[in-house]
């Protein structure tokens, strides 16, 4: 793990915040607590490694709404919900919306920590994917317009000859553009280039 994990505890009950903080700190994690979903959203930065332990029932914005807000703003943070009673329809909804777990209070240390560890694995995965996505994006951003044209046709399976004809340029020029594309994106072969195009949501240009 590149950075230390932070466990966010969002609960409007001070005793719950305090006791869970002590517990999570004993496990060696950094803790950040919030008494409301609103306060958490105000201070939250994306790309944080960690997870959130969120009380479903809070005055003001409740846990489910917080989850919606995070999703809406593409904030990737695994959520573990805590609830007073095992409301099954609500738990199904929360899990479907991407929650890691839905735990009933009082929760045992073991159960909570299992969920937290699982959530951290999820978080790491999210961050890695995000990082790779971002690097691909930045590589693709370096391409010139002509290079993008060549790349688009290449990943569609056209040969250099065909590309030259379609774009009305010489075979040699296509070869130069293509070698620059391979270099800039770091693609090892055509298949790799196709993967990068897919990951980076590369938009193929309209055929001339």
């Amino acid at each position: 793990m590149s950075t230390e994990a932070t466990i966010f505890i969002i609960d409007d009950d001070p005793a719950i915040r305090d006791s869970l903080t002590l517990m999570v700190v004993q496990e060696g994690f950094a803790v950040s607590t919030f008494e409301s979903a609103e306060a958490f959203l105000e201070s939250f930065q994306t790309e944080r490694f960690g997870c959130a332990i969120v009380d479903i029932r809070m005055s003001g914005m409740d846990g489910m709404l917080l989850q919606e807000m995070l999703t809406k703003h593409h904030f990737q943070l695994p959520i573990i919900f805590l609830t007073g009673h095992g409301d099954i329809p609500m738990s199904v909804r929360a899990i479907k919306a991407g929650a890691v777990d839905f735990l009933t209070k009082p929760v045992t240390r073991e159960r909570l920590m299992t969920s937290v560890r699982f959530a951290l694995v999820e978080s790491e995965k999210m961050l890695t994917e995000r990082a790779s996505h971002q690097s691909v994006q930045s590589h693709l951003a370096e391409l010139t317009e002509r290079e993008r044209d060549v790349m688009a046709l290449a990943v569609q399976g056209h040969s250099n000859k065909e590309i030259a004809r379609l774009l009305g340029i010489s075979h040699r020029t296509v070869e130069i553009h293509k070698s620059k594309v391979m270099h800039k994106t770091g693609a090892t072969n055509l298949l790799d280039l196709a993967r990068i195009a897919h990951e980076g949501e590369f938009k193929s240009i309209d055929k001339p």
């Binding site: 409007d12 009950d13 001070p14 005793a15 719950i16 305090d18 006791s19 869970l20 002590l22 517990m23 700190v25 004993q26 008494e35 029932r57 809070m58 005055s59 805590l82 007073g84 009673h85 209070k105 009082p106 929760v107 045992t108 240390r109």
Partner: protein, 501 residues
């Protein structure tokens, strides 16, 4: 003076000056004198009418009868109206008829006996009668439209006279009266006793004689049961009930509707009770589960601390203290709920509200809610109020705590609470106002603030204001939130004075 005046007036002058038609008739029934109005009314000249048999001035069909009446009148002459209320008709010379009322007065001059007949044109009376007829017709129509039946219970003869509508309901054909026994036989056996009680109360001469009772009538022909509402009045003669005159209305549809509504209401009430019960249980569960969850976590923290090589006594202490505080919190929530649900006898006493307010201020301070400055405006020498002192103190402490908590959350710079205790002259009650300078309440919160289990506080149970309002009402007062644009929240409550001034 008077005599000399009359002496100068001839009888004929007086006779002719009268506004009504007058005929003087002798003892054998001949007209001997007629005034000008009479001549005009009957269309005769004096010469024509003089000596005419009086019967000539009435339709033929009356004449024979009149001979007899005339003879009997002379035997027993007296001043009276003629015809015993029958419609009388005079015959004019041209044979046309004219409705008249006639008064008879005997006049004697020595041995000679005359009768003075005074004729008033009866049109006016007829008009009144006509109006009465129209009014009766209207009443009948109204009665029919309202579906009213009329009955007249002759108490002495045990007979009931009734109209068609009543007969319809009772399933009787055409009899205009019915024996009381038969009348009662159609009444539902279960309703007879109640009806009898009402009648007995009404026939008591000490009562106002008013009678009103609903009962069921079973039509003996088709067995259909109908609800009847009867209203009436007993008539007394010499202190004895003689008649019960009343109206009856078919209220079957209304009763069916009432029953449906009652069932719906009962159903709603059950649903509401279930909802309240489920809400209550859910609130209790939440109130106990929160501290339990914290206690569980604190305990595991303590255990972990004891088992770990890097023992941190500070954390162990914090965890155990936390567990104790949470156990206390759970107990307190339970007690508050139990106190709310207990419906004990309310003991009331007289006390000084200002004094109890000062006690409440001290209690709030002692409970850790002392971080405010009270701005007091207390009416001096205010009369004593009547209520349960402990409960009133609790209301005050609750309101003060709420105010302090609201200001803490908002972290207002000046934590002042304005408290006014005064006499509200309009309602003649003690009136307390508590205004904080916190953030106040938004419209949505204000609407729900008195609901049980509604709370804006993270550790609140949501019963404080619900309990306070219930307590105020139990003490004969009101508790409300002022809706205004002022900063902060303003709560008011009233209490009755011990002595009404």
């Amino acid at each position: 003076m008077k005599d000399s005046l009359l002496a100068n007036l001839s009888v004929q002058t007086l006779f002719d000056a009268a506004a009504d038609a007058m005929l003087l008739v002798d003892n054998i029934g001949h007209v001997v004198q007629a005034n000008a109005v009479a001549l005009e009314l009957l269309d005769y000249s004096f010469e024509q009418i003089n000596g005419l048999e009086i019967e000539a001035l009435m339709p033929k069909s009356y004449r024979n009868q009149h001979h007899q009446h005339r003879n009997s009148y002379y035997k027993n002459p007296e001043k009276r109206p003629m015809g015993k209320g029958r419609d009388l008709v005079a015959l004019r010379r041209d044979g046309s008829e004219i409705a008249v009322d006639i008064s008879l007065s005997p006049i004697s001059t020595g041995a000679q006996h005359f009768v003075l007949a005074t004729l008033h044109i009866a049109d006016k009376r007829r008009k009144v009668e006509e109006a009465l007829k129209i009014s009766e017709e209207r009443l009948r129509l109204a009665k029919e439209a309202a579906g009213l039946g009329v009955f007249d219970f002759d108490y002495r003869n045990n007979v009931i006279h009734w109209d068609e509508r009543m007969r319809d309901i009772w399933g009787e054909e055409s009899e205009e009266s019915v024996s009381y026994k038969k009348f009662v036989a159609a009444i539902h056996p279960d309703d007879r006793a109640a009806r009898q009680t009402v009648i007995e109360r009404a026939i008591d001469p000490a009562s106002n004689g008013e009678y009103s009772v609903d009962y069921r009538v079973i039509n003996p022909n088709d067995g259909v049961e109908r609800w009847i509402a009867t209203v009436g009045r007993i008539h007394f003669t010499n202190g004895h009930a003689t008649r019960l005159l009343g109206v009856a209305r078919d209220i079957t549809d209304q009763k069916i509707l009432e029953k449906t509504l009652q069932e719906q209401r009962a159903e709603m009430e059950t649903l509401f009770k279930q909802q309240v019960a489920s809400q209550t249980v859910s609130a209790i569960a939440h109130e106990l589960n929160q501290p339990l969850a914290a206690i569980s976590a604190y305990s595991e923290v303590a255990l972990h601390a004891l088992n770990s090589s890097t023992f941190n006594p500070e954390n162990l202490k914090r965890a155990l203290e936390g567990a104790v505080a949470q156990a206390q919190r759970a107990g307190k929530s339970l007690h508050e709920l139990l106190a709310f649900m207990q419906k004990g006898e309310l003991v009331t006493e007289r006390f000084e509200l200002n004094h109890v307010l000062k006690e409440a201020l001290n209690i709030a301070k002692g409970d850790g809610y002392g971080d405010f400055s009270p701005l007091l405006a207390l009416e001096p020498a205010m009369p004593e109020v009547l209520g349960n002192e402990t409960q009133v103190r609790k209301i005050l402490v609750n309101l003060l705590r709420n105010a302090v908590e609201a200001m803490r959350v908002a972290a207002v710079p000046s934590s002042a609470i304005s408290i006014t205790v005064r006499t509200n002259q309009e309602i003649n009650m003690a009136h307390v106002t508590i205004q904080d300078c916190g953030p106040g309440l938004d419209a949505e919160t204000a609407k729900r603030i008195f609901e049980p289990f509604f709370t804006t506080k993270p550790t609140g149970i949501g019963m404080g204001l619900a309990i306070s309002r219930a307590l105020t009402e139990a003490n004969g007062g009101q508790l409300w939130l002022e809706q205004n644009n002022k900063p902060g929240a303003t709560f008011h409550f009233t209490l009755p004075f011990a002595t009404l001034t």
